[in-house]
Subunit: 252 residues, 2 copies
DNA sequence: CCCATTGACTTGTTTAAACAAGTTAGGTAT
DNA sequence: ATACCTAACTTGTTTAAACAAGTCAATGGG
């Protein structure tokens, strides 16, 4: 039993869709056809297709088929629809990026900080302030709070690179879930000190709580973006289990 | 074979988590336990759990268990994390809301509009402009474009209510996928004409393309929000199939 | 005391099969 | 011609079983 046959099928189909091998607005080959082509069971094909539905590549309809709804996007846009580090995103979009650490201290979460971040009061934290430059212009001000007891040996040197890569590669800690909130806020003095806001007086603010594989929230980040480059993409699917009578009261 | 046993299990577990019946940060009962409790197969339990992972209620780890990572949220916040109509959202948050249609015309998509919306050039469209009031104050300016050939009998009267409800209930057209983009834009004269922006000079803009069950994009909407009430929530999970070498190039 | 191994758990992946239910085209009876 | 029905597709749901792989505590022997 090889590992992740459904992942291979997912990537194969995604590649074909992006390459335009299936006409947009038309049906993909049926599940039975794909079973024959990939030599696997129906469940495995269906799992790959479910991933394509989740990511907005296709849509399914009972009794009909799997429809290609892919529309290519300008690669220059600065997308944030998935968990990506700043370095990953800028590499993908081909923009030159760099990161400066402007503050690196230890602190303990007080009542106010605990309420804002979701850490329990009294938690010892690294507080890291970083400025991201895009093509030489300061565009993102990042406030990172890391649980001290989850980050053995974090130094400013490491933080200057990609803290996500540090976590995943060095610690073998796989980042699993990230709860994010996007708001728009007025620029503060601090924002103006570090970013070139031009004529804007607001910022796009993305706050996120990240959990490690132990189920411990180990990071709270607030990213304050220059509005002109901020672009968040998302894909929403109404799943049957949401269709119930009960209204939703989302977590976070 | 009853319909959607996994949906029942999903809702049962979600309800228990929200009610605090499982300690936060602790493990839920194991799959085997849940199989016994709900009297179903392992796959069905796993499907319910997968929904809870997607929605940020729990996290799983191989060899360990299913961990509760639920954190309740203030119910007053104006959340947009799933496909919801304005009416649904305001009812859920308990705010009084009303909608005014300020423009309702037919138009044909020109080159520029086609590029912006994603409709093919030449498509006949309803153009609907609506203002949403929240507790009596105009807060959202909505530009809706509907494909004329997908909307038999739409009138201003109906549009004044919930166009989503109209679509789902009257036409039996189940809305499936919605591709959304969030940006921040400077307020235009038109924005200031309809909304009370106060000291803000920016808006939160959410553009969305909605597909019907035929795989046809039948709606393009741009919602321009007063920044103070805009709040978008999201949950991101790094799935194994994304972990590949190939970078992502999101659709839409 | 320390370290390796084992065994009993846990979730992750895949297969095979059966039935339910929606869609569509073609054939039949009116 | 029209209306209905059927048959052959399609995807949706559920079950059962097997094996892979990660975790953790108990049990050893050194």
């Amino acid at each position: 039993m090889p590992r992740q046959k459904y992942g291979e099928i997912y990537r194969a189909l995604k590649g074909r869709i992006e390459a335009g091998e299936y006409p947009v607005g038309q049906l993909l080959p049926s599940e039975n056809t794909l079973i024959g082509e990939f030599g696997c069971s129906r469940n495995t094909v269906r799992r790959a297709l479910a991933g394509l539905v989740r990511d907005g590549y296709v849509q399914t309809r009972q009794g009909w088929g799997v429809c290609n709804i892919f529309q290519p996007i300008e690669p220059s846009s600065y997308t944030m629809g998935t968990i990506e580090s700043f370095a990953e995103t800028s590499r993908r979009t081909g923009q030159h990026s760099s990161t400066r650490v402007v503050l690196f201290t230890l602190c303990t979460a007080g009542e106010e900080l605990a309420r804002r971040t979701g850490f329990p009061a009294g938690t010892e934290l690294f507080y890291l302030q970083r400025v991201h430059d895009l093509d030489g212009v300061p565009r993102i001000l990042n406030h990172n709070y890391f649980r001290w007891d989850c980050m053995p040996g974090l130094t400013a040197q490491i933080a200057a690179g990609s803290s996500y890569r540090y976590l995943e590669e060095k610690l073998g800690m796989s980042i699993v879930t990230s709860k994010r909130t996007i708001t728009v806020e007025r620029a503060t003095e601090e924002d103006r000190q570090w970013l070139e806001l031009g004529e804007y007086d607001c910022l796009a603010v993305m706050s996120s709580q990240t959990y490690n594989s132990d189920g411990v929230m180990f990071e709270y980040t607030q990213s304050r973006h220059y509005p002109g480059i901020f672009r968040f993409q998302d894909n929403a699917v109404r799943t049957p289990e949401h269709h119930s009578i009960a209204e939703k009261r989302g977590p976070q």
